[in-house]
């Protein structure tokens, strides 16, 4: 099988961090806060790498959208060329982590400033759809949702834009030539479907356990290529159709009230207008 897999990876605030709302209520504090790869994206990368190890897929390409980060400049004796593609200066930690897990190369879609703040599933799915066509990918694996916005839309939108079948909330994937058997986690239990490639999959929690990057792979990741593209190069307009009006913390949990009898309880609930 000569499949090429595109895996989307998103850089999100680390799951263990205590989120704080910005004083101006326009969003949450991200400056200086620990970020890492979205856990569902890790599972997606792991699945793609596993398919490659089983020789069912020939290339895994990790894609991420975000600003160019200048941190971690490596002062190197080698002469750094001016071309954007030089690996030395551009640091996209999330893509590198995917490379260290076993992806073959990376694509950094450069989105900065206001565009990055308002980037959402609609724009990302348009970008992924354009890349899938450009890279001639026949499989896209994404995390089912990101832990910062919990949208759970990108996979579905990407499939729709490409008019490809989708296997979302995948907890088990089996590839047989160009057919995919996908076991999906749904509210009622598990649903098994068969879809034909090219297709889009979104990874759910139980699909696999992501590997730790081995030290040799971290070293190899350094030599793997990351190319940079702009949404404009792909013909995608990233302006947002949504405007965030307000972001606030959930209300503080109030103390409860103890009552003596069931009648009292009913009375209190009626008082509060709940029944």
């Amino acid at each position: 099988m000569s499949a090429r897999v595109l895996v989307g990876v998103k850089r999100v605030i680390d799951y263990a961090v205590k989120i704080r709302v910005k004083p101006d209520h326009t969003g949450v504090v991200t400056d200086g806060v620990k970020h890492s790869m979205n856990p569902f994206c890790e599972i997606a990368v792991e699945e793609a790498v596993k398919l490659k190890e089983k020789k069912l897929v020939k290339e895994v390409v990790a894609v991420s959208c975000g600003p160019q980060q200048a941190q971690g400049k490596e002062i190197d004796l080698q002469i750094i060329s001016n071309k954007r593609m030089t690996v030395g200066f551009i640091l996209q930690e999330t893509i590198r982590t995917a490379l260290a897990m076993g992806a073959d190369r990376g694509i950094h879609v450069e989105v900065s400033g206001k565009d990055y703040e308002t980037l959402g599933p609609l724009q990302v799915s348009k970008i992924l759809a354009a890349l899938a066509k450009k890279e001639e990918a026949n499989l896209i694996i994404l995390g089912k949702q990101a832990i910062d916005d919990d949208c759970n839309q990108t996979g579905q939108m990407t499939a729709a834009l490409l008019d490809w079948p989708q296997g979302t909330f995948a907890s088990e994937v089996t590839m047989d030539r160009d057919m995919l058997k996908v076991v999906r986690e749904i509210d009622g239990g598990l649903e098994t479907i068969k879809i034909k490639m090219p297709a889009v999959l979104t990874a759910d929690l139980r699909l696999n356990t992501p590997r730790y990057a081995t030290l040799p792979n971290i070293m190899k990741a350094k030599k793997k290529k990351i190319t940079t593209v702009k949404p404009g190069d792909l013909g995608v307009d990233v302006s947002s159709r949504l405007e965030v009006l307000n972001v606030e913390e959930p209300p503080q949990r109030l103390a409860g009230v103890k009552v003596e009898t069931v009648d009292d309880l009913v009375g209190k609930l009626k008082e509060a207008g709940k029944i």
Binding site: Q71, G72, E74, I75, D76, L77, L91, E93, R96, T97, A100, Y212, A213, T214, L215, P216, I218, M219, A221, K222
Partner: protein, 406 residues
């Protein structure tokens, strides 16, 4: 101006890896950041949940050692051609610190295998010896150990009373080695024995002995104060016969091999001590946020703040020394003084920080419900093994006096 230029060059250029300069003390290269994060994630998810149990049961973390082997952590400096990760000593010290932050015993197991066992074989072994004694020990399936100390001499390493005599095409070893870390779980050891008594410390040679092996037996596992998941015991050699080809380095080179190995191993122990100190600091700082007294979190009290500041200062200072020693070693510059400073600073920081951490936690610091008491117990040994604090001071002083030679 000229002095500044010389100073920069002195810290300066290493081949291949890029310029080793002071800015790296401020921010590590990307590669090192990534591997540090990987080790930190592993320690957080796989070691922290089991560390207390491993300590209680004195249990060797075999599964974790294999997983670390698969990640390349058991043989960081070993070139890829021999099965290692092919990274540098800075990467190694970062790895040991992060793993020790999760479990100090696991940290020392990793350190001993890397620095004390693989280190000398890599540096002094023949190509044949490297294939036989290195490659199987890179995967985590097998670990090695280092047998220098004896019941009669620790700091006094030149007085090795273990003897090796040649009989035909074999060496025959007799004697007892003490305090050998990993020995109950090891598959090979580097043993130091006297081949020519009249040459004193120039008559000591190094040997590679497989384990188990006829003539080699192990004493009872020591019941230690800390790092209990790592086994420590005597190695008893009674007419232990090994082929002539098992000598490591040349005859009489043993003392030199031991000293050079310990120079590097020191950095590993400094890293382990840093991990323990950091874990204790994490514990205390977290508690300072949560515990309330006198109407506010205790972190608001100056007494606690001063403690936390001193703890963080001691840890960070020792960390910079450790990084510097590693970078000098990677740049193939002399690093003996810096390594001794790093080990001294880090081990004293570990005991200080873990002591203060218990103080911050109060009664909670004294019980096994919190890890503070384990950090306190684990920290203590770092001032003793691989060169006591007193020996480190002698090493530093000797180097200083040499620098100021009249």
């Amino acid at each position: 101006m000229a002095a500044l230029f010389t100073a920069r060059r002195a810290l300066g250029v290493a081949g291949g890896h890029g310029v080793r300069c002071l800015s790296q003390l401020a921010e590590l290269p990307e590669l090192h950041q990534m591997m540090r994060q990987t080790c930190r994630d592993y320690a957080q998810k796989e070691l922290v949940p089991i560390a207390a149990q491993l300590d209680k049961e004195h249990k060797f973390p075999a599964k974790q050692v294999r997983e670390l082997g698969a990640m390349g952590v058991m043989a960081i400096e070993v070139p890829e051609s021999l099965g290692g990760a092919g990274m540098d000593y800075l990467a190694y010290s970062l790895a040991v610190e992060e793993l020790s932050r999760g479990c100090a015993s696991t940290g020392v197991i990793v350190s001993v295998n890397n620095s004390l066992y693989l280190g000398p074989v890599l540096k002094f072994g023949t190509e044949e010896q490297k294939k036989q004694w290195i490659t199987p020990f890179t995967t985590g399936e097998k670990v090695g150990c280092f047998a220098l100390s004896e019941p009669g001499n620790g700091s006094d390493a030149g007085a090795a009373s273990t003897l090796a005599r040649q009989e035909g095409d074999e060496w025959v070893l007799n004697g007892t080695k003490a305090w050998i870390t990993n020995c109950w779980d090891a598959s090979a050891t580097v043993v130091f024995a006297t081949t020519d008594k009249n040459l004193k410390h120039k008559g000591i040679s190094a040997f590679l002995v497989p384990m188990p092996h006829p003539g080699l037996s192990l004493g009872k596992k020591e019941d230690k104060l800390g790092i209990r998941a790592s086994s420590t015991a005597n190695i008893i050699l009674e007419d232990c016969r090994i082929p002539l080809g098992n000598m490591l380095g040349a005859r009489g080179m043993g003392f030199k091999i031991a000293m050079q190995t310990l120079d590097s191993g020191r950095i590993g122990i400094a890293a382990q001590a840093l991990g323990i100190a950091q874990a204790a600091l994490d514990c205390a700082a977290d508690y300072a946020h949560k515990r309330t007294a006198f109407g506010a979190p205790i972190g608001k009290l100056q007494a606690i703040q001063f403690k936390l500041a001193d703890m963080a200062l001691a840890t960070e200072s020792a960390r910079l020394l450790t990084w510097k020693a590693s970078m000098l070693r990677d740049a193939k510059k002399p690093f003996t003084k810096e390594a001794a400073m790093a080990k001294l600073a880090a081990s004293e920081a570990a005991t200080f920080v873990s002591h203060q951490a218990i103080q911050v936690l109060g009664g909670m610091g004294y019980v096994t419900d919190m890890p503070a008491e384990r950090h306190y117990r684990d920290a203590r040994i770092t001032e003793i093994y691989e060169g006591t604090s007193e020996i480190q001071r002698l090493v530093i002083a000797n180097n200083i006096l040499k620098e100021y030679q009249q």
